[in-house]
């Protein structure tokens, strides 16, 4: 364990030296074992043997999700199938699934990466980890599971669904760490409260490791209050591994990248140029020691930035900021870029509204029409229609001010917005010619 601990506080120049060796190896392995990379590198005139500094990697071509799809199922594998122990597939939220392969070594790294979240929370053998990400091809369930086991936690493989049973087990087994999507954690909290429980007292949770969807600071604060625990954001994607690529520490000020396994760049999504630390752009990842499905400059489509400077926790691995959303989550409404998380932030300034919402996009007379469905919180006095209208108008005005786009607010009945057990479906796009 000492070795694992040391790696997190290694001086950054030494991390870079590790990354440089890893990246060089990945470039050569990919070139020699994956026909796709050979072809792509040759086409771009990129010589994987000529890399002299970490910055040289910017000369290598990008890999996109479409490339992975085109090579479905196994053409991106850099090792023979006999060395592959496990297969996962992306949850397909954004289209056709992509495949990731894992050797024994890859699974070990994965567990180690996710276990860092537990370590950041000073957790380990005394913790009971309740995993209700879906188990299966989705990386959430098993990724968290391997992390729990690797960190020494007693790990409960609940998988998603049957919320009342989740609540029963949380109470009866006294789980201390909860792993699931933030929206499902909220659903568990709300359901427990509706069942007459006080989750702050009836549960023993102290940490939640939540990811797989972007959530706002306000949503986090709400969750932390309801469940009386601390929420750490976890980031990852099947194309590079799964959850654990980056995890927040208790400072809750950015997610530490597992820089000993991943080399990160932030690029301008339009031009592909590498951006300096501090600037927002698309995260691009290169694996440094992945065996089965290494990736070179994979365009994640996730919008973030490298937070400049060192973290107060003393760990040296650089941090990415909490995700602003994905380039493909981003809605372009009448030419204006809108992320669902921005809508969430506005909603959270209004205590009369619950945290659940759904954005519906339609086409009316060739124009985009956006309707935001929200639910009133219990306790809001709506006896007179003008109170409801006032609430609607106040939210519409705030949205307009924050997003520069007109959104029609519709107040709907409680629980009429579907509660998610996995990733929340927050945007329904019914526009003509979009899908």
């Amino acid at each position: 364990m000492t070795e694992k601990k040391d790696i997190l506080t290694l001086p950054h120049d030494q991390i870079e030296a590790l990354q440089f060796e890893g990246v060089k190896k990945t470039l050569v392995t990919c070139y020699e074992n994956v026909p796709f990379y050979k072809e792509r590198f040759d086409e771009a005139g990129f010589d994987p043997y000529s890399v002299e500094t970490l910055a040289d990697i910017a000369k290598a071509p990008f890999t996109t999700k479409q490339d992975l799809r085109d090579n479905y199922p196994f053409k991106m594998f850099a090792v023979p199938m006999k060395d592959v122990r496990e297969i996962h597939m992306s949850s397909g939220t954004t289209g056709v699934a992509t495949v990731g392969g894992y050797t024994e070594h890859d699974l070990e790294i994965w567990g180690d990466c996710f276990a860092r979240g537990v370590e950041y929370a000073d957790g380990g053998e005394d913790d009971i980890m309740h995993v209700c990400y879906g188990y299966g091809l989705f990386t959430g369930g098993l990724g968290a599971h391997y992390g729990g086991v690797s960190a020494g936690c007693t790990t409960i493989p609940m998988s998603a669904g049957n919320t009342e049973r989740q609540i029963r087990i949380l109470r009866e087994m006294g789980s201390t760490i909860l792993c699931c999507t933030p929206s499902y954690a909220m659903h568990i909290a709300d359901t427990a409260i509706a069942m007459g429980l006080d989750p702050a007292k009836d549960f023993k949770l102290r940490v939640g490791i939540h990811g797989a969807e972007a959530f706002s600071d306000n949503f986090r604060a709400d969750l932390e209050k309801k469940l009386s625990y601390k929420v750490l954001d976890v980031y990852g994607l099947t194309e590079t591994m799964g959850p654990g690529v980056a995890i927040e520490c208790m400072e809750q000020n950015g997610l530490h990248l597992a820089e000993d396994h991943f080399f990160a760049e932030i690029i301008d999504p339009e031009t592909g140029e590498v951006l300096p630390d501090g600037e927002w752009g698309e995260l691009v990842l290169t694996t440094t020691d992945r065996e089965a499905t290494p990736v070179v400059r994979y365009r994640t489509r996730d919008i973030t930035r490298i937070i400049p400077g060192e973290c107060a926790c003393g760990r040296t691995h650089r941090r990415i900021d909490r995700l602003h959303g994905r380039t493909d989550d981003m809605l372009i409404i009448r030419g204006v870029n809108v992320f669902p998380s921005q809508i969430e932030d506005v909603m959270k300034t209004m205590p009369e509204l619950s945290s659940w919402y759904q954005v519906e996009l339609t086409t009316v007379a060739h124009l985009d029409r956006v309707t935001l469905k929200v639910e009133m919180e219990q306790g809001f006095d709506f006896d007179e229609i003008r109170q409801i209208e006032g609430l609607q108008k106040a939210l519409e005005a705030k949205l307009k001010a924050a997003l520069s786009v007109g959104i029609k607010v519709r107040i709907v009945e409680p629980k009429s917005i579907p509660r998610s057990e996995g990733k929340a479906k927050r945007v329904i796009d019914l526009r003509e010619g979009v899908n």
């Binding site: 639910e375 006095d381 009945e413 629980k415």
Partner: protein, 142 residues
Amino acid sequence: MIDQITVFLENSEGRLAALCRTLAWANINMKSLVIADTTDYGVVRIICDDPARALDVLNAADYRAISTKVAAIGVPNEPGGLARLLATLDELDQNIEYGYCFSINGDMACDVLKISGAEEASAAAKAIEEAGFKLLKQEDIA
């Protein structure tokens, strides 16, 4: 003053029927039900025999329901009954948010009025009684 149950309902097929069924199963008898409707939703206002229980039942069934104090005034069931009552309130320069009527029996109608503000409401109640109208209590209509 009596308790009125106010329920937020979406304008969609079957919602009102479902609401009434929920109350029926709980054996709650409605004296009056009126709907204020807009394009997207309606606000349903109910006077019933057991408002406290009705509120519990509706909340448990995931309706957004609240309890609101309203003035219930007994008015003779004859032409001009409501007109005389409103004239009294008019003299007070008292605004009424909304109102509706239902008959309790052949001789007596109940006029329900929502008067904004606690102070205004009690001043209005006093004036109503002084003008000879009967302010009804929960048990008068149960």
